[in-house]
Point group: D2
Chain length 285, copies 4
């Protein structure tokens, strides 16, 4: 139809659930992943006429994830990049691949036994035939400070009723992503562990005047300690804990009894980066 | 700390649940919304030093949503834009506001009684002090064709095992967003109803050679019939229905018995726009 | 180990997702089910020694669901009972089978096209080798009255702060189950439609002094109109809608602006039955 | 209406989210609970006529949860029982109260900082004016064995296609509840820790011929080691991990690459109890 054009488009297989067991010693290791592949390129034909000659089926993408796991997964950054390169290098129409992986942590109970832990490690690799980009991250990391958090001096208008406070609970479910300056030469496992450790430490030891300040401190802490990281992006929902008014029952409440609310919630999002960080390229879309 | 800079950032109140009842006649009307406000501007101080003098609390944003509803909500496009303008025009540091609203549909049972229906209407308004943008949409719109869908002629590699088919079930949960060319002069309610009707009609009457082709047909159909729409963005998860192999039980299966799978799923995303569409501005981030 | 005994136990395959297409005419019909089978009987051996000779695998139960659908599903009450009888009658150790089915509704868009609707129909059949029982139901049926609901005159103690009200929003997500007096001789489709219609009508036209009163009226209405029903069991979460205090903003709020809360919520559960209802037998566990 | 009677009924406040901070020393402690209260008694009046004089509002129940927390929560078994007793002893019409609590675990990061852990502790107290019962439990405890699990020798019929195996992954999300023989004289915190430890140990070190056998071993292990426990009830969804067929790609798969499936799933439920266990009373409804 004249006058209409195909704009940005991509396709892929979302949430391929792969579990790999490494049995080379009597002490098994387990890698538990959720892999999503997204491809882009010269895909106009399938959109406009249903000519699929340039379409690598999403079912094939799933098969590829499983087949590549046969040789071992290793760190998810490497596995994601290996898959992204494969799709672009082997499928004629595909010019850009993004592979996003969630890794669920398991704690060891015994040589062959595991218990699921908290928090999810993530990695996203992008490849466009020439350049590659890696973003690591963590999500579902729920943290809480019982004190050391204030909020006052804010802008007030006719709709402001919030009381200022010098002592509140601060709680959030961290979603963090950090872009690496390079895609090689990094010990990804150690980098993840250390970045997460610094995020947690900054959350815990920052005396907070706002969740924004805590966010910035967390990003800065990672950058200050991890030279391989160029940029840190954080999304912090403010899980409000409201002090319950016990006065109607003849009771005081000196910061002890709280109602944990569901909705609405504040949502603070921000990025901290090196002044001399390399361009993000295709890393963030 | 030297060498680190604050990058993109924004904050707001997510998921304020507002229900408004219009009681001006004996036949009540109900408006059931989930409102998320997001503000950006000169917010460096709170990030860097915890100086909150430029921060309009997210609690105030919630209050504002409720207070503005006192005068009536009207169409969600107008309500979102009214809120976005208020935040930018009244808060000194705020230079950009985005308000996203989900509206849950209710079917009438009686003058004062309602039943929740299927599908969610959405609207997102953005305002930056000079320009404004509106995006309408629908989500959770689950549709299925029992025939009229083929998939063959695709690119094959060593990992391809998918059989070609000339008759399959095609099912998806539509998430569609369409950007309007202007923010005034449109009957938003009628525009939404008609855009949704065209999406459904195009899904139903397109003989599909790929979900990408169906996606493009859906976007094109809206553009061809709704001059107020500049661009249509669609995300279509492919809810795979696999024909069950009944041969081990001595039974054939002529396209009648299917397993509805959860994960993984294909995910097709694309945009269709007018060749002469105005620039999207801040509408899409 | 001496001194310990195996108590109640059962096993089965949960959530087999079955979609059947009836193509006998040009106007296709679709049946979209979630089937869970649960078997009990002489299963001590597998618990105590891992001797599985009496265990019909859950994988086989899943296969059976698909294979039986080849002949047509019909009404879910009949399909559930047919499956339950098969398991007890054919597996030597199985003395009791329960099959629970959820059916998702689809509205027709065209001869081969459908859109998912709201509300889920349910049926549970139980068979123990001699007797059979059927329970039909509906869930995810969300309803709201904007007026005609009061709550006052309640018991008060030192922890009571709730204000009495003569006009509030009453909203709930109905989960209803009704036990049939017999397992044959009923037009299940019509019975379901009518029972649901009566539930909705009673919710809408009962002037409510408590959600318990509404619950009772809903159960009674079904019993009064559907002689095939012996008993109605209802679970009604009270989806609280709180009037927002707009006074701090200089505004009144005459029953128009509400906050829809998530948690906590009241939960009202009750049963209404015929004075001469037959014994429930195994129907409810 | 003649001929219809009110059957079993109960009501309460579900999911009151309570967080208590103990600040008596510089090392804070946190108790994070989800409390649901359910009351039953002489409640016919509110059902039949809307006379609420016997109804203690669910809002009051919520207030009571918060007010009682002012004195400290302690172990959830004690807190649940204290609340249950209060409702029956103080509300004239209430003859039975059940209080169910979920406790979310937090790991310490620093004196005032915590990170949410995996697994949820539960307790349910029931009181009927004379007797009381306590059930403790754990849920969301996800565990996996990479080997040491077989499944063969099962009953086969014409719908059986499952291959027998002598080595499979066994994974489940444990929901366990154990009934205590008494409601006093037990160190609840230690009892919970030890019961959970024994569940995990039995899962890990039982060479499994069926998930039923593992279930029984887990229940028996708790009983053998915890004299305060009279009965253990377990629900174990079988989280199937299917070996991926890599042969089409020219690869073998010696137990290394698996697809983690969502639905359907096996569901194994069973109870292990002492031969001389006291009657469960009202503990399990």
């Amino acid at each position: 139809m004249a006058g209409f054009v195909l704009g940005d488009n991509q396709y892929g297989k979302a949430e391929t659930r792969l579990v790999r067991v490494d049995r080379d010693t009597g002490v098994h290791r387990i890698t538990d992943l959720n892999v999503s592949t997204t491809l882009a390129g010269d895909l106009a034909a399938t959109h406009l006429t249903g000519d699929n000659s340039g379409v690598l089926p999403t079912d094939t993408q799933k098969n590829t994830v499983y087949a590549f796991a046969r040789d071992g997964v290793g760190e998810i950054e490497d596995f994601a990049l290996r898959l992204a390169r494969h799709f672009v290098d082997s499928a004629p129409t595909i010019t850009r691949a993004r592979v996003r992986i969630e890794q669920y942590g398991w704690d060891r109970l015994a040589d062959h036994s595991f218990r699921r832990g908290a928090g999810t490690r993530t990695a996203t690799a992008t490849y466009d035939g020439t350049g590659s980009w890696l973003v690591s991250g963590v999500q579902d990391l729920v943290v809480l400070n019982t004190t050391g958090s204030e909020f006052h001096g804010f802008h007030k208008d006719r709709y402001t009723t919030l009381a200022e406070t010098t002592d509140r609970i601060l709680a959030t479910a961290v979603t963090a992503r950090w872009r690496h300056a390079a895609t090689t030469g990094v010990d990804w496992a150690s980098s993840f562990d250390e970045a997460t450790r610094h995020l947690l430490a900054a959350f815990a030891d920052t005396h907070s005047l706002s969740l924004q300040q805590t966010l910035h401190a967390m990003g800065e802490r990672v950058l200050a300690n991890r030279p391989e990281v160029a940029e840190v992006q954080l999304a912090l929902p403010n899980r409000h804990h409201f002090l319950v008014d016990l006065a109607p029952f003849g009771l005081d409440n000196p910061g002890e009894v709280f109602h944990a609310a569901d909705r609405p919630y504040g949502l603070i999002e921000g990025t901290v980066l090196r002044a001399d960080a390399p361009e993000p390229g295709l890393a963030w879309w």
